[in-house]
């Protein structure tokens, strides 16, 4: 459904992505793991044109775009097919929770306001925020804000939702509520591409794990394989550092 070919991206002299290929099928939950600076976030941002890739192609089923030379119209089309969940939520500060969720529907998709409000309320109910329709982001906790962020993405019913470290800015005790919301929407068959450091999410929910390092994909496969018998030395080292000992029986 989404196929990315040969993405390259440099910031000045630093080459962050050195040719990344990735294939995602409908309903897949793909988790990207890797140390900081390995290019995970940049990859996500390039797919949604928040950064302009130096070269590369993205194929969304029926349309194929060059990530470097895409026209404004193509970029707009791709953004309509995708949704993004940000590390620091990026809720619209001047809008209530419900307005945050309906903004893309009413303004971006021209859905009538009454209908959009119904959809928005349903999405907020789904993430457990039925009581907070009219709350402004400043009145919500980090976990609640991120759940609004997820509702804002889900309500658009996009082909794929891109999650950029959705729990990294949260207090540890709030991580759980966000992860359980993500698990629920994964169960509903939402296609997700998730950059995260939450190994439990990768192991329990993902059906494909991608390990990135130094701007390339080092290894990819089902979580069982990656976690229990990684082939590459680099993957082993990384898992050894981030996972508690008892998960790694083979060492």
């Amino acid at each position: 459904m989404l196929e990315i070919k040969n993405i390259h991206k440099s910031f000045g002299p630093n080459e962050i992505l050195k040719g990344v290929d990735l294939k995602i099928e409908k309903g897949d939950v793909v988790v990207i793991l890797g140390p900081s600076g390995s290019g995970k976030t940049t990859l996500l941002r390039c797919i949604n044109f928040l950064e302009k890739a130096d070269q590369g192609h993205a194929n969304f089923g029926d349309i194929d775009v060059n990530l470097n030379t895409a026209t404004k119209k193509q970029i707009h089309t791709i953004r309509q097919k995708t949704a993004f969940v940000f590390q620091n939520y990026n809720l619209f500060h001047n809008k209530t929770a419900l307005e945050n969720v309906t903004e893309g529907l009413i303004i971006g998709r021209k859905i009538p306001k009454a209908e959009a409000n119904e959809m928005g309320k349903k999405a907020l109910d789904k993430v457990g925020l039925s009581e907070k329709y009219d709350a402004y982001p400043s009145e919500l906790s980090g976990g609640q804000q991120q759940r609004v962020g997820i509702a804002r993405a889900v309500v658009l019913n996009p082909d794929i939702i891109l999650f950029d470290e959705p729990t990294s800015a949260l207090d540890p005790e709030l991580v759980g509520e966000v992860l359980s919301v993500m698990k629920n929407i994964a169960k509903e068959g939402t296609t997700m591409l998730v950059v995260t450091h939450e190994m439990s999410f990768a192991k329990d929910v993902a059906n494909k794990v991608v390990f990135m390092d130094g701007g390339v994909i080092v290894e990819e496969g089902p979580p069982k394989e990656i976690f229990s018998k990684p082939k590459e030395e680099r993957t082993k080292q990384f898992l050894h550092r981030v996972l508690p000992e008892d998960y790694i029986f083979y060492i």
């Binding site: 928040l50 619209f92 998709r109 709350a135 400043s138």
Partner: protein, 233 residues
Amino acid sequence: MDFKFLVDTFFVALSGVPIALIITIISLLIALPLGFMLALTRINKIPVLQRFAQVYVSFIRGTPVIVQIFIVYSSVPLLLTSLFEKYHIDKNVYDINPIWYAFIVFSINTTAIMIEIFRSAIGTVSKGQLEAAYSVGLTNVQAFRRIIIPQVLVTALPNICTATVNLIKATSLGYAMSLQEITLRAKVAANVGYNYVEAYLDIFLVYLILCSLVEYVFKRYEKRLSKYKTAHA
């Protein structure tokens, strides 16, 4: 102290308020969007334009308004005369209402101030707001209109209020181009019987009332706009 004169002249001065307000409003209508766009050129480092904005601001900020008035009031008529001659337009430049020169001077002046106000205010809205707007499928224009500008305005409003009040007060310099505004009207009335103290007191009061009203309106608007900031569960 001539109290009858004091009261009469108060209303004379008051009759200059519409002119002061029209100049203020026209200048703001021109300066607000222009200042916002030029501020964007500075923030996004648009090659030629950002340099232009920078030089423009330092020229305007570095010179007194009264000098700017003298320059426009003496040079624009000369320019127009030669233009009229060239295109055979039968119009005497000295028939032009000086309010047009006031529009020019105060728009140029206020634009420079707005550039600086918006430049700092836009900086307070994080880039993530724009990215989030793009990610839910908003176009550039929609994102600015719905998300960025409302937030920029909240931060900029106190400074825009100060600039507006300063602008109203600066229109008093319009007397230098014989503009029939508050100051000139009261001064002319005073010339007859040398009642300067009363006239100046009237001018003082009119500006004070006018500026206080404007400040009040801004405060109300600011409160409404910043509802989302002060909201607490």
